[in-house]
Symmetry: C2
Subunit: 150 residues, 2 copies
Amino acid sequence: MSELIFNQPSDDKSELEDAGDFTPRFDDRGLITAIVTDAGDGELLMVAHMNANALALTIQTGIAHYFSRSRGKIWKKGETSGNLQTVKEIRTDCDQDAIWLKVEVAGHDATCHTGRRSCFYRTVTLEDGKPMLTIVDDDLHFDPKDVYGK
Amino acid sequence: MSELIFNQPSDDKSELEDAGDFTPRFDDRGLITAIVTDAGDGELLMVAHMNANALALTIQTGIAHYFSRSRGKIWKKGETSGNLQTVKEIRTDCDQDAIWLKVEVAGHDATCHTGRRSCFYRTVTLEDGKPMLTIVDDDLHFDPKDVYGK
C-alpha cells in the first residue's frame, strides 16, 4: 500500500473551509484530535489523537488507528481486546484540525479500557461547590483483567 | 462568584477512573479538549479547548466558555452571534483529559462560524487515491457577513 500524502494546509481560511483537498492541520506535536462516535446510535465513544501516519492508515484500511502519546507509537485500536473499529464515515471540521470517525465496534462492543462501552461514563456536577464525578454507566462489557492481563 | 478550584490529578490511574473528585488533566499548554454535542439529538457540533478558567466558568454559569488559542483569551461562545450554548450535562473520559458538553444552542441554532449547524459539514473520502472533502451540509442558518461583519 503506497503512502498517503496530505498536502499542506492553505493559509487562506476560506480555502480551508471549502470542498476540495483534505489538508489536515496537525498541531506543533504533529497531532490532530479524533472524535469517535458509534455509527449506529451516535454515542460518543472516545477522544484520541492521530499523527499523519495513523490518519493515513485509518483512511486507507478503514480500521481506526491512533497515535499513543504515552507509548509514542501507532496504536491499532482493539488489537489486544478485539474491539476493532471499522470506520463507516470520516468528517473534518471547518478549520481541518479535528477528525470525526463514525465507527462500528467489533468484539465486546466496548471502547473504554475499563470495559465500558464509552470512555465518557461519568458526569461532572457541582456538589457543595466542589466539582465531583458520578458514574452513570457501570455496565462492563469485558473484564480488563481477562483482556489485558492486569 | 468565587473561583472554582480543581484539585491536582492523582498519579494513580485507578483513582483517575473512579467516582469522586473531578481532577481535569490539562496538557502542557494548560488546555483540555472539549467535545460539544446537541443535547437533543446528539449531533456532534464542534471541538474546542478550555483552560482552567474557561472550564470553571462553564461549570459555574452553565454557559459554555472556551479558550481561543488563536486569540489567546477566554471566549464565551455565541457572544457575537447570539448562538450561546446552555450546558445540560458535562461528562469526562476515563483519564479525565477530555470534556463532553451536551448543549442547547440558542439564536440561529448554529455552532459553526460559517453559519452551519455543525462545524463537521464535510466528509473525507479517497478519490483516485487522494483524500478529498465533500460538503454534506450546506444549510446556512445565518449569513456570516451579517453576523460578524466580514
